[in-house]
């Protein structure tokens, strides 16, 4: 798997990885932005450790947090999907939580509120685009879930029609509607 490493100065908040695992700890989609895990085996070991250490906690209503191997991991579970964002030990925990929230909302919206493993795998292209719109080589690109989903949703617009401002806002409205319904439920 290709690395996305950047040599940034320490001041800039950075994300070390974003993971989406299933309820057995297996990869659905992952992105690493740090050379802390040089091989696929190292990445798998990290995912296993993150999964087992958090498995028994209740991260369904609220994002949870843990220190693991001197890094901060914020995470949230829904159905059979486990969302994780890892950052530096001294990173602003709330910044990481904001990235997690954007990730979580974005995925929720592109999956039209059916957030489970099956939907995620069936719409893996959308999930991968979500990853791409959240963080660029470690730098936070966007944290607002509806904007992330809006960028990804342009995907489903019909062929050959250049995307206008209006279609984006339509997509956004649809996305927001989904979010609202999920909150009312």
């Amino acid at each position: 798997m290709h690395h996305e490493i950047s040599g940034l100065s320490n001041d800039c908040p950075t994300v070390k990885n974003i993971l989406l695992l299933d309820s057995e700890g297996k990869r659905v989609a992952v992105r690493y932005y740090s050379d802390d895990w040089p091989t696929n085996a190292a990445k798998l070991a990290y995912e296993k450790s993150v999964f087992t250490k958090t498995q028994k906690t209740n991260a369904r209503a609220e994002a949870e947090i843990i220190i693991l191997e001197n890094r901060i991991v914020v995470y949230r579970f829904v159905q059979d999907l486990h969302f994780f964002v890892t950052g530096e030990d001294d990173e602003n925990e709330l910044m990481l939580a904001t990235v997690l929230q954007g990730f979580f909302d974005g995925v929720t919206l592109v999956l039209r509120n059916n957030v489970d493993l099956r939907e995620a795998l069936e719409n893996l292209d959308l999930i991968l685009l979500c990853f791409d719109e959240i963080v660029d080589r470690g730098i936070v690109l966007e944290t607002d879930g509806s904007i992330i989903a809006g960028k990804v949703a342009s995907h489903s617009i019909d062929d050959n029609s250049p995307l206008s401002e209006q279609t984006i806002s339509q997509a956004l409205a649809a996305a927001r509607e989904h979010l609202t319904r999920s909150l009312l439920r």
Partner: protein
């Protein structure tokens, strides 16, 4: 499902139904990728194939170079499709493949076309892809577009260009720096993320220009930043400026503190927290500055969001290490966090409370923690145990409840590391709090009755052997020890035998009973156990109830004064090449090079409890010994006692670099001059050092070993040997001149001319000092070693050291003067202490062990006084140590 190749788990049937990637296989997908070449593109199918490829790569599958190239070329064909969804997948795929430079050219024009598209998403993504895969040459071509993009009205496009700029700054700084004006404009953007990216880039462009950063911070802290992320950045930059500018000496005000404090009232929690954290991390932060930050963190403690509680308690925990008083206000909120669902939060809360708690709250706290301990993981428990240990050392009067707590958790389930942390803590409490000794030992005894860890059992038995006989009723421990002989494995049984022997040696009334027990051990089925029993029965004087003599006590309790790793190396060497004569223990080098001892009083370092052993020494003494014994002139000098650290005799970066190592023998010293010639055009020959020993009266030169040739940059040695009175720590000053024949060298051929010129080069003086005659050598238990040394050998005197910079400086000066090994971390002086005791051990020339107790005190005028107590195996050596100090 017709997927015979896939292993099917019974309990995974559900998944089999829904994973679209089941049975997916690289070869087949690469075949499928041929659809990219179809003249009539099926966009949906193409998207699916790319998704499959990305899935495989994401699962850790790799493509060979050839496969990657093929996929890349096929994917570039897809640019002809106008389908936006497919185009997005193409972008992802190109980034994933990270094409080589000649491949990049293929897609450059397509991407540049997209960069100029009317569609924002095309522009933004094309910029990100192109900047990701491009090298510097292409960058100048697209620079114009990127500058435009930075100020594009679409935030997506501007952010894409700015983030790409941040990455490109690492590789092409000179180009990115030309974008300053545009970036500065983008900092004023109304879009939150654009502002954030622009500020990050602007700061990175200017980060090496302190003045520019200062200006940036000054103007932005006046308030034009809206984005919370950008605000967090600004707080970080501001902290940096504060660090570099310091406190205003007139007003005592810190520049920009008001800005940080203002951020505590920001509406975004992320910003509030960043500011609070920044304030707590200010250097020499005052209580007044801390207060507002602590107040907001305290509010966060009762938040419903775990992340917020965690962030707050973690920050307060750090503050408690340096400013415990500032955190005490939060204690009530902190106590309610002990039952937090998130165990990280609970543990941080407890350890904070343990740091800030006062004596009266200890009992209540212990009760709360006891409930908590049962449901946390071992790693957290260890943190708690360590915090309790320091609390107990802080409030020794509370040892009873703390010791009870430790013994209770010792009885519960737990892994090795956890149990070891508890045992280590009990041992340290026993050592430091005399009242805790008897109860502590009994707790340990009960623990070994049911201990599954051989290592811990043997360590406790060893400790019990040293401490148990000195208690009021030693007999009560015998039962626990002998139970080990009956119940445990061979390693523990052997240890128990040694422990019994120690009781027998020190407690005469117990002797007959011990003998009975030891005799029973003669029938053990393990060799080591029987051997030990036999050995002890003989050394203790089988049967007769007489006082154990000193030599036996020394044998049983004395620490082996040889580092074990040195002994191991020597034994291995001996076995590799066995000689006629038996192995000589005195042939083992004693020098301990690295000094990492248990530092139980040093606050920053973890106490090591039972396993306080010196770290492995380096083999420098070995190397010197080999070198010297290979020189026939010095072979008759006998065994090398000590080699000093190299002393530089030249300034750095001079023509010739020379340092000296002083090798001390019983009747000789050998100076080893390590020379390096740093001039490529020269070769030195017949290199010697002419030593003037007129200020070293007791030394007489007996030989030199010149250095034949010293070519450029190849270090080599010349030696000078002196005779000195036997066993006497003669001191003196030596001045040195390097004498040699210099020959010109042709650097191109490396050949030297035939004729040379004699020349001299003045070197610095050096001295042989008393410390050269003392070996650094640690003891494992200073108190025991001191008590076992004859009190009659003790010499005590007091010295005034005059005004010193600090207590630590005075302590350090005396340690260097004596050249002895600081024990138990006592070389570390806690800041602000008015007095300090330092323990030193070493071996004086003639193999005489010396122990030193130094008690220092400092008064208001920084006048330092010192009491020096020395014990040694030879009272004249005790006096010699005093002479060193008196003349130093």
């Amino acid at each position: 499902m017709a997927q015979p190749l896939v292993k099917k788990d019974d309990d995974r049937d559900d998944e089999v139904d829904y994973s679209p990637f089941l049975g997916i296989e690289k070869g087949a997908v690469l075949q499928e990728a041929r659809v990219f070449n179809d003249p009539q593109l099926d966009t949906r199918r193409c998207s699916q194939v790319i998704t499959k490829l990305l899935y495989l790569l994401n699962q850790g599958e790799t493509l060979t170079k050839v496969e990657a190239t093929e996929v890349f070329f096929a994917v570039t064909k897809l640019f002809q499709s106008k389908d936006i969804g497919l185009r997005r997948m193409v972008y992802l795929m190109i980034k994933e493949l990270s094409p080589s430079a000649d491949e990049v050219i293929i897609v450059t024009s397509s991407l540049m076309k997209d960069m100029n598209s009317r569609t924002d998403m095309y522009r933004a993504n094309a910029i990100r892809v192109l900047c990701r895969i491009t090298d510097g040459t292409l960058l100048t071509q697209i620079e114009r577009y990127l500058k435009q993009a930075i100020v594009d009205k679409s935030p997506v496009v501007a952010s894409a260009a700015l983030v790409s700029g941040i990455h490109l700054l690492q590789t092409n700084p000179e180009i990115v720096k030309r974008w300053s004006n545009e970036v500065q404009e983008a900092v004023q953007s109304r879009a939150a993320l654009v502002q954030f990216h622009a500020l990050a880039l602007l700061h990175q462009i200017r980060q090496n220009d302190r003045l520019a950063v200062n200006k940036l911070v000054t103007s932005l802290t006046k308030g034009s930043i809206r984005s919370p992320l950008a605000q967090c950045l600004l707080i970080r930059y501001t902290s940096q400026v504060i660090r570099e500018s310091g406190v205003n000496p007139q007003t005592g005000d810190r520049p920009f503190y008001d800005y940080l404090e203002g951020c505590l009232r920001h509406k975004a929690e992320m910003v509030i927290y960043e500011a609070a954290k920044a304030i707590t991390e200010l250097s020499n932060v005052t209580a007044r500055e801390l207060t507002p930050a602590i107040t907001v963190l305290q509010l966060f403690l009762s938040s419903s969001k775990p992340v917020l509680r965690f962030a707050a308690v973690r920050t307060l925990n750090k503050v408690a290490m340096t400013h415990p008083m500032a955190v005490t206000n939060c204690n009530i909120d902190m106590e309610s966090l002990i039952s937090d669902q998130n165990r990280s939060i609970a543990t941080l809360a407890i350890t904070t409370l343990l740091k800030t708690g006062n004596e009266s709250s200890v009992d209540r706290l212990m009760k709360q923690i006891t409930n908590f301990m049962s449901d946390i993981a071992d790693e957290f428990k260890i943190v708690v145990v360590e915090a309790i240990r320091s609390l107990c050392l802080k409030f020794p009067l509370k040892y009873r409840s703390l010791m009870n707590f430790l013994s209770n958790i010792l009885r519960e389930e737990g892994g090795f590391e956890y149990k070891k942390a508890i045992v280590d803590s009990i041992v340290i409490l026993i050592r430091d709090i005399p009242d805790a000794k008897e109860s502590g030992l009994l707790h340990l005894c009960e623990f070994i009755e049911d201990c599954e860890f051989t290592y811990l059992s043997t360590q406790i038995l060893h400790f019990l052997g040293n401490e148990g006989p000195k208690t009021s009723d030693p007999s009560k421990y015998i039962r626990y020890i002998y139970n080990r002989v009956i119940l445990e494995n061979a390693t523990v049984r052997a240890s128990a035998v040694s422990t019994l022997a120690k009781f027998g040696a020190l407690v005469d009334p117990l002797k007959p009973r011990i003998f009975v027990l030891l005799r029973r051990c003669l029938f053990d089925n393990d060799d080591e156990v029987r051997d030990r029993a036999t050995l002890y029965l003989n050394t203790l004087g089988d049967g007769s109830v007489t006082e154990t003599d000193k030599a036996v006590k020394e044998f049983l309790f004395g620490s082996l004064d040889i580092p074990l790793t040195n002994l191991e190396t020597s034994l291995k060497n001996y076995l590799r090449d066995p000689a006629e004569e038996p192995f000589d223990l005195y042939s083992v080098p004693k020098e301990v090079k690295s000094q990492s001892f248990a530092e139980k009083k040093a606050p920053s370092k973890k106490p090591t409890g039972l396993s306080a052993q010196p770290a492995a020494p380096t083999s420098a003494p070995d190397a010197y010994e080999r070198l010297l014994s290979s020189i026939p002139e010095f072979a008759s000098f006998g065994k090398l006692f000590k080699s000093s650290a190299p002393v530089e005799l030249t300034e750095a970066e001079t023509e010739y670099a020379v340092n000296v190592v002083k090798h001390i023998f019983d009747r000789h010293v050998v100076f080893q001059y390590n020379c390096t010639n740093t001039i490529p055009e020269q070769c030195l020959e017949n290199v010697t050092v002419i030593v003037d020993a007129s200020e070293a009266e007791e030394f007489a030169e007996v030989g030199t070993k010149p250095l034949k040739s010293l070519p450029y940059d190849t270090p080599a040695q010349t030696f000078v040997a002196f005779e000195k009175p036997e066993g006497v720590p003669a001191v003196g000053k030596f001045s040195n001149v390097l004498r040699f024949t210099v020959k010109e060298v042709d650097p191109s051929t490396g050949e030297a001319e035939d004729d040379g010129v004699e020349d001299e080069y003045q070197l610095e003086d050096f001295e042989v000092v008393a410390a050269d005659y003392i070996l650094k050598l640690g003891v494992s238990n200073f108190k025991n070693a001191w008590e076992n040394m004859d009190p009659a050998s003790e010499r005590v005197d007091e010295y005034g050291l005059g005004p010193r910079e600090s207590l630590a400086e005075a302590v350090n000066a005396v340690i260097i003067l004596l050249g002895m090994h600081p024990c138990e971390g006592t070389e570390v002086v806690p800041s602000n202490s008015r007095s300090h005791t330092c323990l030193l051990s070493g071996v004086y020339i003639g193999n005489v062990k010396v122990l030193v107790r130094l008690s220092f005190g400092i008064d208001g005028t920084k006048e330092v006084a010192m009491k020096l107590a020395v014990r040694s195996e030879d009272e004249s050596v005790s006096e010699a140590i005093h002479e060193i100090v008196a003349s130093g």
